[in-house]
């Protein structure tokens, strides 16, 4: 039988030395931001019941999840996300707690990606949720934190992009379209030519409907800076969408006051996970990574779908691996460090060697006890690991350690 004991499964990887430092550094930076803003960390199991993720409004595809069964034959998954577990906790253990709740999670998640697509099946995701807060205040807080997260990346060009899928939902209400999922995915992929074809067939000649169909067709093109609003305001004037637009613009304008203006963009064509998000949706991009590194939005019906009362909720998640990899590639993350001093002890002085290490460490110098058998081997080791100082302990010759500089 073929044995696979020398490789890791597709989509997973070992992180060694600099890669590991970069990942930890990126994770710690996010944790610092979140705790400083009053968020409490929770850890959820990597294994959850399939049912936690299997619900129409929770938008996880069956084929995207790693599945296994427990001892009783029940279907379980490796968590593909941290928000569902948090919603489960809020709807159960925390349902009588003090709201609003501000939670964050920083843990690995698992996705079954198409084979050989070069995507990670296991990666670290760090994210926050505000549950039960006032909508306007929570939206602003979450957006400003998302902007801070992006700014903390070492990337030269970052962008936070905000949308609101209320517009899309209002439009769908006004137009009766049979194939909503196709329309949604055409808007998401900004495929205006095909969208035009599809809409043409399903909208008759009723003038009101034509108006809304025109707006729907424009949605994918309504992205960019503040100029998008003047275009949208003209387009939406006098329709059911106009009120929501002025609210949305207020959020956008306040955020722009807080942040470097050209880092905040708008995209009214953000319609991903339409059954799940119920208000603002947003994404963060960095120059070095080909997909969004941050993604979030408002999901007011999720907690209710776990049997509790509906509760306003908003949050986002960051792909920590992607940020770490970008930092590493641009040489902006810290390097893996070896000890400053290597301590080599002769056969009879081993315990003195160990206590000398402790003394050095206590005085703020990192020290490594050499496990090489000979001094020559220890010197080779020090050179290979760029350690410039060796302390040699040989009580027979010297009472004090002898320092050798390489």
């Amino acid at each position: 039988m073929k044995s696979y004991d020398l490789i890791t499964p597709e989509g997973t990887r070992d992180l060694l030395f600099d890669e590991c430092v970069a990942r930890k550094e990126a994770e710690d930076k996010l944790r610092e931001i979140f705790t400083a803003h009053g968020y409490s960390e929770v850890i959820t199991p990597a294994l959850e019941f399939y049912d936690v993720f299997n619900n129409k409004t929770r938008s996880f595809k069956q084929e995207d999840m790693y599945k296994l069964t427990d001892g009783k034959g029940r279907l379980m998954v490796m968590r593909p996300d941290s928000t569902m577990p948090i919603a489960r906790i809020v709807a159960t253990r925390l349902r009588d707690g003090v709201f609003p709740l501000k939670l964050f999670c920083s843990q690995n998640i698992y996705r079954c990606n198409p084979k050989m697509a070069g995507r990670d099946d296991e990666f670290m995701q760090s994210g926050i949720e505000i549950i039960g807060g006032d909508e306007k205040r929570s939206d602003l807080e979450v957006l400003s934190l998302a902007a801070q997260v992006l700014n903390s990346c070492s990337s030269d060009d970052v962008r936070l992009e905000i949308g609101d899928n209320t517009f899309y939902k209002l439009l769908l209400e006004k137009l009766d379209i049979d194939d909503e999922e196709t329309v949604r995915s055409l808007i998401e992929s900004k495929n205006t030519p095909q969208l035009r074809e599809l809409i043409k067939d399903s909208v008759g000649s009723v003038p009101e409907k034509r108006r809304y169909a025109d707006i729907l067709l424009q949605l994918p093109t309504l992205f960019g800076g503040a100029e998008v609003f003047s275009k949208a305001e003209k387009l939406f004037a006098g329709t059911a969408l106009a009120d929501r637009l002025s609210e949305f613009r207020a959020t956008f304008d306040s955020l722009r006051r807080l942040e470097t203006e050209d880092r905040i963009n708008v995209d009214l064509g953000l319609v991903n996970k339409a059954e799940y998000y119920t208000g603002i949706v947003f994404r963060g991009y960095i120059e070095e990574y080909g997909q969004a590194v941050l993604s979030g939005g408002r999901y007011d019906t999720l907690i209710g779908s776990f049997g509790a009362d509906d509760m306003p909720a908003v949050g986002f998640a960051v792909n920590v691996n992607a940020i770490a990899a970008a930092n590493l590639r641009s040489n902006k993350s810290a390097k893996a460090k070896h000890a400053q001093v290597l301590v080599f002890a002769c056969d009879d002085d081993l315990i003195e060697g160990i206590s000398h290490c402790s003394k050095l460490i206590a005085s703020g110098i990192s020290a490594e006890f050499s496990t090489c058998q000979t001094l020559e081997a220890a010197i080779e080791y020090a050179k290979a690991n760029k350690i410039c100082r060796i302390d040699i302990i040989d009580k027979e010759k010297n009472e004090q350690p002898v320092t050798m500089t390489l």
């Binding site: 198409p114 697509a117 070069g118 060009d157 962008r159 992009e161 992929s189 900004k190 495929n191 205006t192 030519p193 095909q194 992205f223 960019g224 050209d262 963009n265 995209d267 991009y285 960095i286 120059e287 990574y289 080909g290 997909q291 969004a292």
Partner: protein, 211 residues
């Protein structure tokens, strides 16, 4: 911010490449290097902010999805077969043909309740098509001339690209049903679209106006 950055475009080698290069010429780009490319894989367009990469169709999707190329020109057939996370912003109109279900002349494909066997180079498109009809079919992946499969009675039908239908006719096959239209599309990486908005929109606008 840096809206004058180079835009890297991946072109599908072969016919789409020729059509796209002609389109670039019409736009007014200097396509001398693109015509006389030798063994170069990354080609420059002098005096412009674009750079061209030639790749196999499915690789165009991969390069654009990962953001190492900002824009791609690729057939709808490849997009439908492989999928991916990118924007599909423009139909270039050339490279037009259709996916069709075909088989031996005179055979009633939908007759009977037995499970049919389909030979194809496009297993995903075939699966989706029959899924939409709630039909179970056996799909056999073929790499070369798919038309051979029904003639050798390996399959009841084929799903393949049909342009004029001549090859089918010459081999005693006919189209039973059209599956979907195909033409060359422009795809864009979602991050590039946002970070290089102005340059990319200008390029696409130029392409659309010169189709």
């Amino acid at each position: 911010m840096n809206d004058n950055k180079i835009i890297r475009i991946a072109l599908t080698k072969g016919r789409l490449e020729k059509d796209t290069v002609n389109l670039f010429e019409k736009i007014g780009y200097d396509v001398s290097q693109l015509r006389d490319k030798g063994r170069w894989l990354i080609l420059e367009v002098p005096g412009s902010n674009i750079e061209v990469v030639l790749a196999k169709a499915a690789d165009v999707l991969t390069y654009v999805e990962h953001g190492v190329c900002d824009v791609g020109v690729v057939g709808k057939d490849t997009i439908d077969e492989h999928g991916g996370r990118f924007f599909e912003v423009c139909d270039l109109g050339f490279g037009k043909c259709r996916f069709a279900l075909a088989g031996k002349v005179g055979y009633n494909f939908y007759e009977g309740c037995g499970v049919k066997t389909i030979a194809t180079k496009y297993p995903n498109i075939t699966r989706k098509f029959f899924e939409s009809k709630a039909m179970d079919v056996d799909i056999v992946k073929i790499e070369g001339s798919v038309e051979l499969a029904p003639l050798l009675e390996l399959s009841d039908g084929i799903v393949d690209i049909v342009e004029t239908g001549t090859t089918l006719k010459e081999n005693g096959l006919e189209v039973y049903e059209y599956v979907s239209p195909i033409s060359a599309r422009v795809i864009v990486n979602p991050v590039s679209m946002k970070l290089k908005k102005k340059s990319i929109e200008e390029l696409i606008d130029k392409m659309e106006r010169n189709i």
